[in-house]
Point group: C2
Chain length 319, copies 2
């Protein structure tokens, strides 16, 4: 019997989203459980399996699940492990054989696991803006900056399964900002939601320029976006700066893998009306003439609420 | 009948080297013709075909040639073309269907063409330091800086066939040196033979530091190497600077494709006793902890005189 459904699971630090997906990319049933209520991974996997059995039952697709796809921080595709993931309460200091553990609790259904940005890239290729593309780079602009690189139709995993850490390539070589990873000057320290908020705080301190942002106690990237929409000059300049830094690095990435397109995804990508022009300008100014104006810069076409589940589920079709 | 021989051709601005190669990577016969004596590509291809027929005859392998591999500047693997190659007298301002033209003059033998750095990578994988490796990056440190990237055992060509221009990623963002490509701050402007000579000239002008190099009229990278071997402090510092810049960029490349090894090749790689330590140090200082000390830094194992021919010939086994 053809198995026409897959399960997509997106594991985050606070919550884990799950859904049953059909071949057309429709989410038939979904649920969310807490990721941060236990330090014991066995307990977490047990509650996850229980939640999955519940939605499989709800959708009436028992026995028809072809596979389970999992997107997780520090997920290793080759080994099915989650390795030293600092923001998972039960995953910090060890290598967890997550795929094997979950499979054992799900009647030995095949479990495919990768990191969240790679899952997003597969989702975009299966259901979104990258349909029909064989070579593209997905950049996720969220709390951090993640990346999923697709080469000849396959996600790039590299020798050890961890390829595609573009958020930690160097954007600012000298006196760069400290990044969570322990290095300085990483792309993520500038072009993530946290990076944008940090630029705002630094610039407010450094200058006397008037800005709506001065009235706020604690600034988030969303505040900067709202201010830019109100026409706030400083907020607009913050996006110009962010876009320029991202565009400069995208030029390097293009020279590496010659993709057909760069796809932007994540919370910060909402600010596209302020980001697109500076990104495109810096990308074209810094790339070799042969690619100037040729590499598409596009935005994710997945519905944001379902994107993480869809991306993870698409892995299960692939694997 | 099994065809047990291939032809390797390495096209350079001044000379074109050709050889007949067997399955063990032995060069049975070789010849060199001038690349720069005609502006007419038809004339060049005719003299190349004549030279090939001569060495095929000399080696006594007529009818046993499985394929012809060509490494050429601006070579496009997908299309078999040489596109706008400024340093080829007959190839500057146009797209040349080189593979098709050569095949027509060689009894329709299959011709596979790529750029010289990709050919070097295939050569290293087939006969050299990368035997058994599936994921590595070859960096050629010659007059310029070229690169061949191997992913899961295949050369990375990207969407358009031109992937792997790592010599033109940005090494120095602000006030970077002008590069031949028209951009500023490219890796090639610092870590090529020309870049090293330029560093020497700049530093000799900027400081009063004593150096053997001051006695020379025109400084080449070879002079800097010779001076370093004599213990010249300035020359040694030039290699430290060069190695640091290269190592910093290698860290970025590792974060992109997670290779098993970086392989260095070309004239400048001879200075390994002065380059290895600064490269390794900068690479480890700038890469994410998960790769620190794990990615091998190795040097080409191909005999330099034959390396270009071997690399190109290996393509013909692959194709």
């Amino acid at each position: 019997m053809a198995k026409d459904y897959v399960v997509g699971i997106d594991i985050g630090g606070q919550t884990t989203k799950c859904g049953i997906v059909n071949r057309r990319g429709e989410v038939l049933a979904r649920t969310v459980i807490r990721s941060d209520e236990t330090q014991d991974v066995e307990v977490f996997v047990a509650s996850l399996a229980e939640a999955l059995h519940r939605i499989i039952d709800e959708a009436g697709v028992e026995g028809q699940i072809s596979g389970i796809g999992v997107g997780a921080p520090n997920g290793n595709y080759y080994k099915g492990t989650i390795e030293y993931a600092p923001n998972l309460k039960w995953g910090g200091a060890k290598v967890i054989e997550f795929a094997k553990m979950l499979s054992a609790r799900m009647d030995d259904t095949r479990v495919v696991l990768t990191n969240d940005a790679n899952a997003a890239a597969v989702g975009e290729m299966t259901y979104g803006a990258a349909r029909g593309m064989k070579n593209f780079i997905m950049i996720t602009l969220g709390t951090g900056v993640g990346s999923g690189i697709v080469i000849d139709g396959n996600v790039l995993y590299g020798h050890d399964g961890f390829a595609g850490e573009l958020g930690h390539t160097c954007a600012v070589r000298h006196n760069g900002r400290a990044c969570n990873c322990g290095k300085n000057g990483c792309l993520e320290a500038y072009c993530s939601a946290i990076g944008v908020a940090r630029t705002a705080r630094e610039w407010l301190e450094m200058t006397d320029e008037k800005s709506l942002l001065r009235t706020l106690d604690k600034i988030t990237s969303k505040d900067v976006y709202e201010a830019a929409k109100e026409g706030d000059a400083l907020a607009i300049k913050i996006f110009e700066f962010t876009g320029r830094i991202l565009g400069e690095k995208l030029a390097d990435f293009i020279e590496f893998s010659a993709p057909e397109a760069i796809i932007l995804f994540g919370g910060l990508a909402h600010a596209k009306e302020f980001l697109t022009e500076p990104i495109q300008k810096a990308m074209d100014a810094n790339v070799l003439p042969l690619w100037r104006g040729k590499v598409k810069l596009v935005y994710s076409q997945l519905k944001e609420a379902d994107a993480a589940i869809l991306g993870a589920s698409a892995l299960a079709w692939e694997g």
